[in-house]
Each structure stands twice: as structure tokens, then as C-alpha cells.
Symmetry: C3
Subunit: 146 residues, 3 copies
């Protein structure tokens, strides 16, 4: 029996990303676009299921990914951390919590709406690993009249 | 007259959290789980109604909560701030704005979906106080076909 | 022919903000309020379409906006950045990615729900410019019973 189209609800998608290096900024924009509903307006919300990686938006001119990683590296002091599993991983956890694990982007008529230079990015802080990002589309409501 | 079940819309819930110390990381995951809709997929979005506390996700191995607080303490320099109410509170406001006041987590079939080590946390920066966190569930849409 | 009210879906609104100085914190709360649906509960989610500006929530006591800008200025070291378009803009991009481009605020019965001192703010890091912020309202679901 074929899966009836009417019941083929795909209300949650996952992006599976294999990162290549210890710290890396990866552009997810082109992976997100095919998941955008073809009609209506609303939000694409992403949530990364990890504690040593984050999602945000960024400029990705050449070298700006490395600028971001250098900046993050410098923000965390080199000191003894309590984290018992591996104290060397503590900065990865701390940066992930501050950058954040979720971001919401508007879409309209099948397109995710970003600024001209704006890209959706995964910030890998403790790679290389396979990372899972949940993607949920929600519909926009008619706005009030004030 | 009893409140008719059909009209018992509970589309916004609140978590009321009493924090115990000046700075503290509190795990909200087990408080969120009972608020997840029992069917369907979508998002649980939380927003904290305060300017000296934040919500995010974090690893909570033993001691990692204190690592996060030490890291945050060190990020803000010890200088004179303008904040008129109490300049000593300025760092609490600044950190809250950078960490953020909202986070969105996916759910499916009655469960909030987090990574294996990932917890939803409240970061108290100026406790002890009673904190209010709004919780709104929204339904996911069927994804597009690209 | 007049635009029929029944089809006047305005499910995405835009805030257009002209910033006045290079770095500035601008209160968007009063601009958001008229866009809140007049009934029901749910979320107002904002996303800024730029890579050198951010949105978050903040205390806005007098001077606290300048405290936030001073703090951000101090977080980024004065070093050579790779960013090819204009290396001097690199800190603006880095801070925007860490603060974040989206925030979700709850609403109920026509009002956005913020804490007593909490304001929705745009953080301009490379002004003066015209900035676009998308605003999407989504409806809350009835919560589960656990």
C-alpha cells in the first residue's frame, strides 16, 4: 500500500550535518530553502540538538567565518574549568549556550527571507561530528489592526 | 457552574521559578515536559519576563553550571556603569540581553526533543527572586516539497 | 474594486527603522504593540534582515543603552580581522551573530507580554542606516495535560 498523500504530514524535518574540523562555521541556508512551505507566510524555526554547537545568522564574506571563530576563541579565558567529562570542552559548552540553540526566520511564498548578506549558520565548536538540526515551519496569523 | 472543558483553552502557560542564590543556573526541562501537547509536532517557545535573567540550553554535567556563571562574570569588566537604579546591576542586564530572553524547542508526540546532554535552563543573574517564564506551544506545518 | 477585507491577510509585517548614529539601542516595543492580534494568545516573532544589527530584550533605564554599547565595544579585541569588504566592520558582524537576529515574545488579548522593565530593542552596530525587521504572529495551541 502506498502512503496516502493526504496523510503525509512532514511537520518536522531534520538537517543532518557532518562537520569537518574542530571549529567551523557552516552555511545551512541552501539546505533550509527546500523545506519552506510553497505557499503562505510564517516562520522556519531551527533548533540544534547539541551542547557544543549553535545556530545563528551571519555575514559570510570570505574569512568572516574564521573571524567569528577567532573572536569566540578569545572570549573564553584559558583557565581551569570544573566540567568533569573533559574540562577542555567547557569553552565549547559555554559558547554554545551564549550563541544559542534556536533561531526563527520568516518565509513568504516559498522563500526564506534573509537580508542580502545574511546566511543561516551552524557554529561547530567541538567537531568533527554529525549534527542534527530540527526544522519546524509554523504559519503566520493575520495581524491586528491596533 | 463548572468550567466547560471545551472552552478550557490553556494556550499560554507560565513557569514560576523561585531562585535561591544571586547567580544560578536552573534546569527547567522537567517543568516544561508536562506542558507539551500530547499529539502532533511543533514548537515549545519560552520567554522570560525579566531583564536580569535569561533562558537558553546548556550541558549540565556537575560543575558546568558554575563554569557558565564564572565565564559570564569574567566577560563583563569591572568598571563604572551608568545604570541609575543600581550601577552594580548593570552587568546582570547586559548579560541577560546577550544570552537572550526566548528559546524555541521542537516537540513531537508529547515529548520535547532535546539532545542527549541538552537541558533547558534559566540563568539567574540577580537573585534570589521569583521569576516568570511564559510557555507557548505552536503547531508545525507540513513542509514544502522544494 | 476594493480589496476584500476577508482576503486582506497581513500575516507578515515589517518594521522599518532609520537609525541615527553608528551604534545605538532603539526601543521597538511601541512599534510592535499595534501589530499584535486583537484576540487569542500566541507569539510575536521578530527577525532583523541584517548582519550588523541585532534584536533582543533589555532594560532601558537612562544610560543603560550606552552601558550595553560600551560593553559590546569592549568584548571585541582590537585586532586585524580578515573580513574583506571592510575589516573595521568585522566586530559589528561578530556581535550581531552572538546577540542574535530573532526573538519571540508572548501576547495575549491584544497585548505583548513583557516584564515590567523589559523592552524589545534593536541594537544598531554599524549605523546610521535603514533597518528592516520582519514581524510574524503565530497562534498558541492548547497545552497538553502531561
Amino acid at each position: 500500500m502506498k502512503w496516502p498523500g493526504a496523510f503525509r504530514l512532514k511537520s518536522m524535518e531534520w538537517l543532518l550535518i557532518t562537520t569537518q574540523t574542530q571549529r567551523q562555521v557552516i552555511d545551512l541556508t541552501d539546505l533550509l530553502q527546500p523545506l519552506v512551505p510553497s505557499a503562505g507566510t510564517g516562520l522556519m524555526t531551527l533548533h540544534i540538538q547539541h551542547t557544543t554547537a549553535a545556530v545563528t545568522t551571519a555575514d559570510l564574506d570570505p574569512g568572516t567565518d574564521l573571524d567569528l571563530l577567532d573572536f569566540l576563541e578569545g572570549v573564553v579565558p584559558d583557565r581551569h574549568w570544573r566540567h568533569p567529562h573533559d574540562p577542555a570542552h567547557a569553552p565549547d559548552h559555554l559558547l554554545a549556550s551564549v550563541i544559542g540553540s534556536s533561531v526563527s526566520l520568516p518565509y513568504a511564498r516559498g522563500k526564506v527571507l534573509l537580508g542580502g548578506w545574511q546566511r543561516l549558520v551552524l557554529v561547530e565548536l567541538s567537531g568533527p561530528r554529525e549534527r542534527r538540526v530540527a526544522v519546524v515551519a509554523t504559519a503566520g496569523l493575520e495581524s491586528g489592526t491596533g
